[in-house]
Symmetry: C2
Subunit: 338 residues, 2 copies
Amino acid sequence: MNLKDIARIAGVSTATVSRVINRSGPVSAKTAQKVLEVIEESGYVPDTIAKSLRIGQTKTVGFVVPDISNPFFPEVLNGAEAVCADYGYTIILGNTNEDVACEAKVVRSLRQQRADGLLMILVDESGGTLRQALSGADSDLPIVFIDRHIEGFHYDSVIIDNESGTSQATKHLLGLGHTRIAIIHGPITTTPGAGRLRGYQTAMEAACVPAKPQYVLEGDFRTESGYELAKRLMSLQDPPTAIIGGNNLMTMGIFRCLRDMGVAIPDQVSLIGFDDFSLAGYLSPPLTVVDRPMSDMGRLAADILLSRIEKRETGPVRRVVLPTALKVRGSCRGLNGR
Amino acid sequence: MNLKDIARIAGVSTATVSRVINRSGPVSAKTAQKVLEVIEESGYVPDTIAKSLRIGQTKTVGFVVPDISNPFFPEVLNGAEAVCADYGYTIILGNTNEDVACEAKVVRSLRQQRADGLLMILVDESGGTLRQALSGADSDLPIVFIDRHIEGFHYDSVIIDNESGTSQATKHLLGLGHTRIAIIHGPITTTPGAGRLRGYQTAMEAACVPAKPQYVLEGDFRTESGYELAKRLMSLQDPPTAIIGGNNLMTMGIFRCLRDMGVAIPDQVSLIGFDDFSLAGYLSPPLTVVDRPMSDMGRLAADILLSRIEKRETGPVRRVVLPTALKVRGSCRGLNGR
DNA sequence: CAGTAGAATGTAATCGAATACATTGACCTT
DNA sequence: AAGGTCAATGTATTCGATTACATTCTACTG
């Protein structure tokens, strides 16, 4: 059952049917009604594929994530999906498994599928992968980066103030009297990895507390690395009195490690995580975290992307930086009383 | 840059280029090489849209979920995505917001987009919505239901043994000496809602412990309803000594409520949740839960769907029922010693 | 009543790839 | 050398919609 069939049954031309469906031209009331009746009866749905081919637009947005099972992902997706649905766009998923080669493959596949635009949480922030995957193409494919971005690349991005996030956390700990503060940060090749480390360093320097190198460890944003590195920290001859986790997963890893090692939080070690999650406030102790507006990030990114796709906005590249907020709960203890 | 351009530059016909790309016919080594070179240089990627239109297959699978932010979703998605990626299929997302009307819209939209098949976590288990959304169509669109299914509908489904899950949980509590056991179950119009309730009832009856009606409450699978109903339970003149949560979100709600009300777990009330989640074992007390293989559900459902799409399997409808397992941690206390 | 504006409708090309069918050419057979 | 086989390639149609352009029809003007 296609447009031609409808035209035949209704006794009109395909052009007329198309005009009725899209309200794209004058059609007499009588004809329109007749056509609509036929469509209704037959249960006809226009073929989006054919339409896309003809008009060169698919009304789809590719959403590229490194790791579906990171709880950060559904939150962002949630915001983005709502906006896309509002504008009649559908989301196609691309999972890169934190892998550079996979990222290239996914982008190329999304390009093949003619996604109208891309929402990307990057893996390769050097941009090499992306540049290659986009090579030879109509390189005006709109892309909005989320959480991470590429220096000197002409794309919009929605990120957060990572530096201020860890800076707040560090100051909070310093204010409680801690000096042996450790951080398990993400890869410094990534925006959030480097930014969060910088915030920590800045705050430490500002307080004239030198950060010991053995307290600054680089993880890979995964639970296991948080676990392992926390174990290493607590095995030092002078273990830290406070640890900052570089993201949600690593914080969970740290939390588990401390629990498994029998290290009391916050009595022996204070802990601050980056990223809030649903049960963080119900752990014991309730976790103090740096929170950020994840759903808003998705919403905003989708907003920008769609306005680029629909050419409602043509100005220069936008770089939106959203604020973070320290949520003080119960995983930090003051040392001043000692 | 399209197939025609490549053909022109390589000095061959479009048919030959197509044959090279798809290995769909004999091409001399020399010609093939030439064509591949041109493709390489130009960064050409075939247009999936055009291909789909021609061959009537999109290599996409629609994934319909009621609630993106339910932690159950990414787990299932994770499994499904891996299988789909293996077979070269892409996932299109459909969010129904637990809304029947929205479900119809999403299915219709996915049909328009010519998804080759659907993975569905239903909202309307009566099937009315689905039947309507599929009306008039080539109703041989393969669909696999996950977690919930429609009685007497000719589609495959992958569900879990809900009844045995709550039955195990109830027996565990009975074994510990509890008799005032409450359950906050999901809507009885849903497979998991009804099944889990039944398991509870069966186990209670088998032990000749009558279930008091005020201990059996129907929630809506959301955190808030768990919270509210737990509050109601604990306000009874003879509150239960144990509560079973009907799903992950409601269990979180119950947990929060008990904490907020200052009810000690498990000293005052024992708690068993349905569905494990990443930090359940690190709450205090660590939560005893009925676990189920969520990622496997996604994997299996995708497996079945793809084998239907590719006609590798044409047998009768399959109904796969996966087992649940009680994970005993620390949220239940024995009453026998009293 | 001829002329014409503008509404209503139709015809046919187009998007980019796949493919049925046609054609060419090389090599082998008898 | 004629005929046959099969590999290699080309031509032209097709998928289902949109749309530029052409045509018809209606109604109104002077």
